[in-house]
């Protein structure tokens, strides 16, 4: 903080657009002084890593993780992103930030210095504060261990490929990826398993296998009797202590624990994918809040730096240019429209909270009696950042002023109706309806189909029954559903059936053909 005072006297932190380690460091200190000292943010220690465009593409394709096991789908995404980038159809992100402790922000080498300042304010303080404080992240992710865990996952998958062949591993990963959205625990609290101990356990397991490997046994005893022995062992093995109670909506978890024919390494891979899904689950639920928080924070910090004379007018113009393109929201009838921009909505709502706290209107006092005119913006925001997710945040904080600003309106339609009905618009009668509908759109429980393992029929033909509880008559996409059910069958080892029922009446809407596992 003292360093900020000394640099303030000497004019802007940087004059040129090229960055250097020295200016980055000084700017970081000045930003930190504002973020911690003035805004009172609470962050993990920061680590800033400079990378090239190619490395950024790399990180893109492996869902933002610096370490990732090998799989063709990442190659596919890389090829696609790279082509878009080369064509100039899409720019690259200025940064990627990892929810880890220390919090790692990747910044591009060709960012200008003003952009590096923006990126540090945005990622190293905005996102970082959100990761550290939001209840979902606190509850579901372990920032201190994720990198270790990914290291383990990468080497484990690599070893499996060596041992069992790329194809075999690929089949398991394909199936697991298809079920990734159904590999999270939504309600019960996650048991804490430290990744280090998970790694140790897997290593011990492998070691044991190696020690007990017998060439003679593998080659001379016919495979049939071996399998019997394996089955007998599995029957006594304490690995599956109790049956997973049904219904179970975490399909990956269920298969990992209960699928009769899986090898131990296959179960471990399912587990890895499941852990990954669980790690990303909070991010899925907090896009608006996370980006909104980071955008609001960088906006405050950059303006404050300018006020203090630490950023030149040119620097702040450059910042405003990219800031306004980040929060641009095209209208629904615009060619560029592709849904509501989470940066735009989050930023608008958070600046609106600031306005309500500091300069409330009569309307605000009616809608938000709890904090309108309270004056303490940061306390209100921090409370929101800590305790809400997108759905509840919108439901609680979306104000009429923001709905007017976005000119939000609600549409609805029955499946075969030729027209959409405008159900509510941004007026007195519509505010609450619009707000509720928008909040529902951010509810992952509504967005992801609700699918559960309903029966296993272990005493009979072992058919696994999956059950889709359809809300409002929304059925599954047929092609994809068939393909995913095939994956489930491959893992389960016996036939799998899928039934779609109406969530309220329990009436059967559609029954899919049973799918047998591929050999």
């Amino acid at each position: 903080m003292s360093s900020a005072a000394t640099t303030a006297a000497g004019g802007p932190l940087f004059a040129e657009s090229d960055w250097s380690y020295d200016t980055v460091r000084r700017t970081y200190d000045a930003i930190e002084a504002i973020a911690i000292g003035e805004l009172g943010l609470d962050v993990y220690p920061n680590q800033i890593e400079v990378i090239t465009a190619e490395q950024m593409l790399d990180a893109y394709s492996s869902i933002g993780m610096p370490l990732m096991y090998d799989h063709w789908s990442f190659g596919k995404h890389f090829a696609y992103d790279e082509m878009l980038y080369r064509k100039g159809a899409r720019g690259l992100a200025y940064e990627i930030v990892i929810n880890s402790n220390p919090c790692i922000s990747y910044v591009m080498e060709d960012n200008s210095m003003a952009m590096q300042a923006l990126v540090m304010a945005h990622a190293a303080f905005g996102h970082n504060h959100f990761f550290k404080n939001n209840h979902l992240f606190r509850q579901w992710t372990d920032a201190g261990a994720i990198l270790d865990y990914m290291q383990f996952a990468k080497s484990y998958v690599a070893r499996c490929e060596e041992r069992h062949g790329e194809r075999a591993v690929e089949r398991v990963l394909d199936a697991a990826h298809a079920l990734m959205d159904h590999g999270v625990n939504r309600y019960q609290r996650k048991r804490r398993v430290s990744p280090k101990s998970a790694e140790k356990r897997a290593r011990d397991r492998l070691l044991y296998e190696e020690e007990t490997y017998s060439e003679l046994w593998e080659r001379t005893v016919p495979p049939d009797s071996r399998r019997e022995r394996g089955a007998a062992e599995r029957a006594q093995a304490p690995a599956i202590p109790e049956a997973v109670p049904l219904p179970e909506e975490n399909i990956l978890y269920f298969l990992e624990k209960m699928a009769p024919k899986l090898e131990p390494w296959q179960r471990e891979i399912l587990r890895i994918v499941r852990q990954l899904a669980q790690y990303f689950y909070p991010q899925k639920q907090t896009k608006v809040m996370n980006e909104g928080c980071a955008t609001y924070v960088h906006y405050r910090i950059m303006n404050r730096l300018h006020e203090k004379g630490l950023i030149s007018d040119g620097g702040i113009m450059e910042f405003l240019h990219s800031h306004s393109s980040v929060i641009f929201q095209p209208d629904f009838d615009d060619k560029r429209y592709s849904g509501i921009n989470p940066y735009a909505l989050g930023f608008a709502m958070m600046t609106d909270i600031e306005r309500i706290c500091e300069r409330p209107t009569e309307e605000d006092r009616q809608w938000f009696p709890a904090f309108a005119g309270g004056g303490d913006t940061m306390a209100t925001l921090k409370e929101a950042w800590a305790n809400y997710r997108d759905e509840s945040f919108v439901l609680q904080f979306l104000s009429p002023a923001v709905m007017r600003q976005f000119k939000l309106f609600k549409l609805q339609a029955e499946p075969d109706a030729p027209e959409y009905l405008v159900d509510a618009i941004h007026n007195e009668r519509g505010y609450r309806k619009v707000r509720r509908a928008l909040a529902r759109r951010y509810d992952v429980a509504v967005g992801d189909p609700n699918i559960q393992v309903a029966e296993t029929n272990l005493d009979g033909d072992r058919t696994l029954v999956l059950r889709h509880e359809a809300i409002g008559g929304r059925l599954l996409d047929l092609d994809d559903a068939v393909a995913v059910v095939q994956h489930v069958a491959d893992l389960w080892g016996y036939p799998v059936a899928l039934v779609e029922v109406d969530a309220e009446s329990q009436r059967v809407l559609r029954e899919h053909d049973r799918v047998a596992p591929r050999r």
């Binding site: 090998d70 090829a79 990734m180 499946p415 618009i425 928008l438």
Partner: protein, 428 residues
Amino acid sequence: MNIIDRRRNPQGKSLANRQRFLRRAKRQVTEAVRQATAERRIRDVADGERIVIPTDGLREPKFRHDPSTGHQEGVVPGNKSYQEGDLIPRPAKGGGGGAGREGADDGDGSDDFGFALSREEFLDIFLEDLELPDLMKQTVGRSEHTTSERAGFAVSGSPTNINLVRTMRNSLSRRIALRRPSNDELDALRLEIAELERTAPDSRRLDELRIRLGLMQRRAREIPYLDPMDIRFNRYEAVPKPITQAVMFCLMDVSGSMSEAMKDLAKRFFTLLYLFIQRRYRHVEIVFIRHTHRAEEVDEDTFFHSRETGGTVVSTALVEMRRVIAERFPVADWNIYAAQASDGDNLTADGPEVASLLAGDILPITQYFAYVEVSGGVGELLRTDSNLWRAYAPFSTSHRNFAARRVADRGDIYPVFRDLFTPEKHSV
């Protein structure tokens, strides 16, 4: 706060994933490469470029809602004039309303998937499709040809490259400099000692000699005969092969009897020849000559895609080729290759003319003349020899730089080149 520069980290982290992806998409990629070869110019064929493949088999399925079912509702921004209760016609398909639609922004939603192949990847697949033997693939695929040439000596290298003369010379001068006793000296001393032992066992001279022998033996032990520092290796440097220029003539019959499939085969043949030649020469020109009953030089597009009507007189093409050579490609400066594709039709009376042109004018100045007779299917191979085949047949045996082959399928193309690249013909 730490700042870490990761730019030096190993690049190409995604390579493993890319290989897995290409393997997975092999069928689709091969098909796309086939198509691209048909569409591209011969000269550009090997430049890696964007290809588009269908996504079947590459989809990553998920349980997701079918947007066309069930009650839909959604909130969208930008209301300009709608009031509650208004009805908006639904757009024909997708888009617009946005109600309940999940964005498919990661490329999964589209039917086709486009990406870029590198030159190496493209060639790999192209050559594999032609069923080239592995060794050939390697040599053709390499864009730059180098030979290794001696370039002085080095202090490190592989044992096979040890230069004995140098090494021994170093060893010798070191031994002389450090005064390592030679075996001869030692032997002489031993002899003298033995002699003295016999004649004067108690002389002081004998003791002296014994001490001297001990010292010399120690010296010989401590100063090695061959020290690692003496060893010199031959050093080799990769030097680009002397490269000259070549011109490749593509001759093709474009009369009505050539079908599109035949032209496609012909194009593959020309392309492969181009790749072979390009490997040897830095600069390769291509001349396209098409003919019916008259011949003309055209550009590549016209060559492959426009149709002419008329009879078939092959000699006209040879005359045209001779003219172009005389005008633009002096034999002293250019290596001349010719590739001719035809369905074998020719005016019967033209046969002798073709033979004399080939024997008299063309073959003496060309490095290689390859003729492929393309036919639509296997059945056609069984018919009697075509007019042109009969005219060309004698040259296959009389001239080493002439080859004629029948090609009915992509896999038949490569064998034509086998002659061209068998070792004894390397006297280019």
